[in-house]
Symmetry: C2
């Protein structure tokens, strides 16, 4: 069970090969139009091996979801002293502009990752599940930091709000990228979005919608 063993290496290679093969096929033809049998055949692997690595077909698309989870969690646990959680999330959302090049690349595909997921019920469900997982992990971290009573609803509400803000801003940013324009301008608009959202979260929702 050594981490750097040959066995471990081959296993990871197989996993990566399966995921890459699957996603290439999904992009080419759509999620529902590709069967797991096809994926297995294309990756020269048995169907059982696919399911040994990925519990469901949907996981082939979202297999890197742990990264996002870790990022959100780090915003709470690894923030510099004197930074509130809200500050930390605001900073994280401002930094989303670094995704712009990746978004541009994705949008170049005839079927972008976004198009793949949106409009497919089972993939959308899976996405919500991933999201909910992040909220829960974040809520636990918040509860631990705040020393909240078990069952306290507050940490979960805060976590849900922050994650939803992060996602909404990400979606908005992608939309802006899709609409076109120079990076700099998109960045400016995005920063304004971030400030609007976090101003509201910072001062309270009581005044929404404004008259």
């Amino acid at each position: 069970m050594r981490a750097g063993g040959l066995r471990e290496l081959k296993k990871n290679q197989t996993r990566q090969l399966i995921a890459d093969t699957a996603n290439a096929l999904f992009r080419a033809r759509g999620f529902d139009e590709v069967t797991v049998d096809e994926i297995a055949a294309a990756a020269q692997v048995s169907k059982k091996t696919v399911f040994n690595h990925f519990p469901t077909k949907e996981d082939l698309v979202f297999y890197r979801a742990e990264d996002r989870e870790a990022m959100s969690l780090a915003a709470v646990t690894d923030r510099p002293a004197g930074f509130s959680i809200l500050d930390s999330f605001r900073a994280m959302c401002l930094a989303q502009t670094r995704f712009i090049p990746g978004m541009r690349r994705d949008l170049d595909h005839p079927r972008s990752f976004f198009d793949l997921v949106s409009g497919n019920p089972s993939l959308e469900r899976k996405m919500h599940e991933v999201n909910e997982r992040i909220v829960r992990v974040l809520a636990d971290a918040l509860a631990a930091e705040a020393g909240a009573e078990p069952g306290d609803p507050l940490p979960h509400v805060v976590a849900s709000t922050l994650v939803s803000a992060q996602r909404a801003l990400y979606r908005r940013l992608r939309q802006r990228v899709r609409e076109g324009g120079p990076d700099e301008e998109i960045g400016r608009a995005h920063r304004a979005d971030v400030e609007r959202v976090f101003d509201l979260l910072g001062t309270g929702l009581g005044g929404y919608p404004p008259v």
Copy 2:
């Protein structure tokens, strides 16, 4: 296609019969331990008819989700003049105490509705889906009322926060009911919970967690 026609009546009866039969079986033995074939047989109906009425097996459990959706939406659209949306949701959450008797009845079952859903991945996914639907509907209503630009992330963030508050408080209330105690005491504790959550939402998240 008359609303009060005999055909319509029988259809609704069949639908109700299938749902009731299914849920009785689910409660008795668990969601995964009952097949759709069994449900169809028990309801004396073909499997195809089950799927004609309910697109997926999970819908047999959540077939009344539209009620919740309508309730959340009404909190925005039907609120009295001078009530902010936050006020309206606070009132709605305070009124959750009326669910206490129903919760007690549910908890009497050897397998409560809650137990049925929690711990079952596909039912939890479905629940998140229902939830996300509510958030989206609410966000649209908020955006319409605020006259928000298309793509504006704010309405979605607000909607997500309100719905998550509502759900978290509902969960907390059920937990209190499960822990036992007189209704009056539970109601008092719940009202305190509601005030804590909505105070935070009203004044901003910046101070969370408190030092």
